[in-house]
Amino acid sequence: MVSADTLEPSVQPGPPSAEKPLLSVEGLTRVYGKRIGCADVSFELFPGEVLAVVGESGSGKTTLLNCISSRLAPTCGTVHYRMRDGASADIYKMSEAERRYLMRTDWGFVHQNPIDGLRMTVSAGANVGERLMAVGNRHYGNIRRAAIDWLARVEIGEDRVDDQPRTFSGGMRQRLQIARNLVTEPRLVFMDEPTGGLDVSVQARLLDLLRGLVSDLGLAVVVVTHDLAVARLLSDRMIVMKDGRVIEAGLTDRVLDDPRAPYTQLLVSSILQV
């Protein structure tokens, strides 16, 4: 029988590499009165990594997303973000101005309902260009060119650049919302059920697009979804939530193919097979 002795002795149990996390969440808790939104959630997200947060409605995944994206102050716990200069900053100790600047430059947020993330009464081009203008770009021609480029990347034709998103289909609106978020080349994007409410075929196209953009741009993503297929297709790692707590976490395909927690097994076994 062979044993580890046949190998050189430098056994390494596989600690993370020297790379530092982009986002570190520690002991994050949010309560609503006596009700728990999410409790004692901790995880790290590394550059270029996609983390899926899955669970049923009311499991606390949206509360968690809002807390880590600075949209909802947690009751306790911390969220640290590694800024472009390499320094780690507690997002709830920043000034509101810094936080909002971060949100429209280095971060993106893709809402489930595109209406929440778009300006419905201004053109697609202006929707995409807004972040550029917000960071001081004052050249119309350049802004427009960037907008057209980004529309092309999300498969929206140049001829729609001056149309308002209310004339767009649901799938197009969602793609526009994605372009609007990515134009400043953020490093971290939060997504709340990005394919929810879309037809299956539209969903597939969007997922494929997201997959490509995430790998091309090296985006780190936290995606909240109740759809395990979405989690499998997009994410490297996932955490499973129930009643506000993380009940299982790990490699996406391992959690889905070899689920340990009773609830995860129930979730996985509830997937409809086509």
Binding site: E96, A97, R100, R104, R119, T121, V122, S123, G125, A126, G129, E130, R131, M133, A134, V135, R138, H139, Y140, G141, I143, R144, V161, D162
Partner: protein, 311 residues
């Protein structure tokens, strides 16, 4: 703008305090004005009062004027540049009756000029106050209806949205088509709505020697531009701010480089372009300037005169 008297001189209406508002209210408004002057372009909330005229008729401007006017002031009121329109005439009469002050149509003679939608062509000088009537003080409202959010945007200097509006203009029209209420940045800090004046007047606000005060009655906001303040119109590098230009001079006084109104003469397409600033036009005619549509005989009526209006 001398200190107001609490006892109004004759022959004001006995029933009203000097300039209609009570002294407490004036003090409150003056505090808002002072704060506005201290933070150029910042919209200061104030407890706007009911005035004896409907909202939209200049209640904000009237309250500002009432708070700063003194017995020795000389008041001019214009509406779209004209001294003789209903709104201008009524407001002038209002202060003549409630404050007993002198009124004028001559820009250089006025100490306070209340205006709706124009800045006089005559360059304003130190010591004069221009009071604007403002319908909607919030320049961001068009794109962001939530007041909580727009106030935050002002506080954090997040003005990307203003350029979104200008972008939309160019995308739709090939150029910035906003011609009035054209947004400006005041002293490099606050973005401000100059009220619905034509953008032609924007350069006049820049480093003006006069104090500029803005009152929005319905919206309960006062803001100010102190003398010699930078006022820059927003634009794009490749679509710089430009004022309107007219390809013909005023039909009455031959004036050029002034803002003209189009006047329809008949039902067969006949029209003329004349100075929107009536005082400016009349003074030029009094000096002998003649436009294309005016005969040669000198009009005898005086262009303007300072009069104490009859009761």
């Amino acid at each position: 703008m001398t200190s107001p008297a609490t006892d109004a001189p004759e022959p004001t209406l006995a029933r009203y305090n000097f300039a209609y508002l009570d002294e407490q209210t004036k003090r409150m408004i003056r505090r808002a004005i002072l704060k506005g002057i201290a933070i150029p372009g910042y919209q200061v909330p104030f407890a706007s009062r009911e005035m004896p005229m409907p909202y939209g008729w200049g209640t904000g401007g009237v309250q500002v004027t009432a708070a700063i006017i003194g017995p020795d002031d000389v008041l001019k009121v214009i509406d779209q540049g004209a001294d003789d329109t209903t709104n201008a005439v009524s407001i002038r009469a209002f202060f003549a009756r409630t404050a007993g002050v002198a009124t004028t149509t001559a820009t250089p003679e006025a100490t306070i000029i209340q205006t709706r939608h124009r800045i006089p062509e005559t360059k304003l000088r130190e010591g004069q106050v221009l009071v604007y009537q403002v319908p909607i003080p919030e320049p961001l409202r068009f794109l962001e209806p939530r007041e909580t959010e727009t106030r935050k945007m002002h506080a954090l200097e997040e003005y990307g949205l203003m350029h979104v509006k200008l972008y939309e203009d160019i995308a739709r029209n090939g150029r910035i088509a906003t011609t009035y209420a054209y947004p400006v940045k005041v002293e490099g800090r606050y973005v401000m709505d100059p009220s619905p004046t034509p953008k032609f007047d924007n350069p006049k606000m820049h480093r003006s020697e006069a104090l500029q005060l803005f009152g929005a009655g319905r919206e309960k906001r006062i803001y100010a531009i102190p003398p010699h303040t930078d006022v820059v119109s927003l634009d794009f590098e490749d679509h710089p701010f430009e004022i309107q230009s007219f390809d013909q001079p005023c039909a009455l006084c031959g004036g050029e480089g002034v803002y003209l109104d189009e006047v329809v003469l008949d039902d067969r397409g006949g029209r003329m372009f004349v100075c929107s600033d009536t005082h400016h036009c009349e003074s030029r005619r009094a000096e002998g300037h003649r436009g294309a549509l005016l005969g040669d005989e000198a009009s005898a009526d005086a262009a303007s005169a300072t009069v104490k209006e009859e009761m």
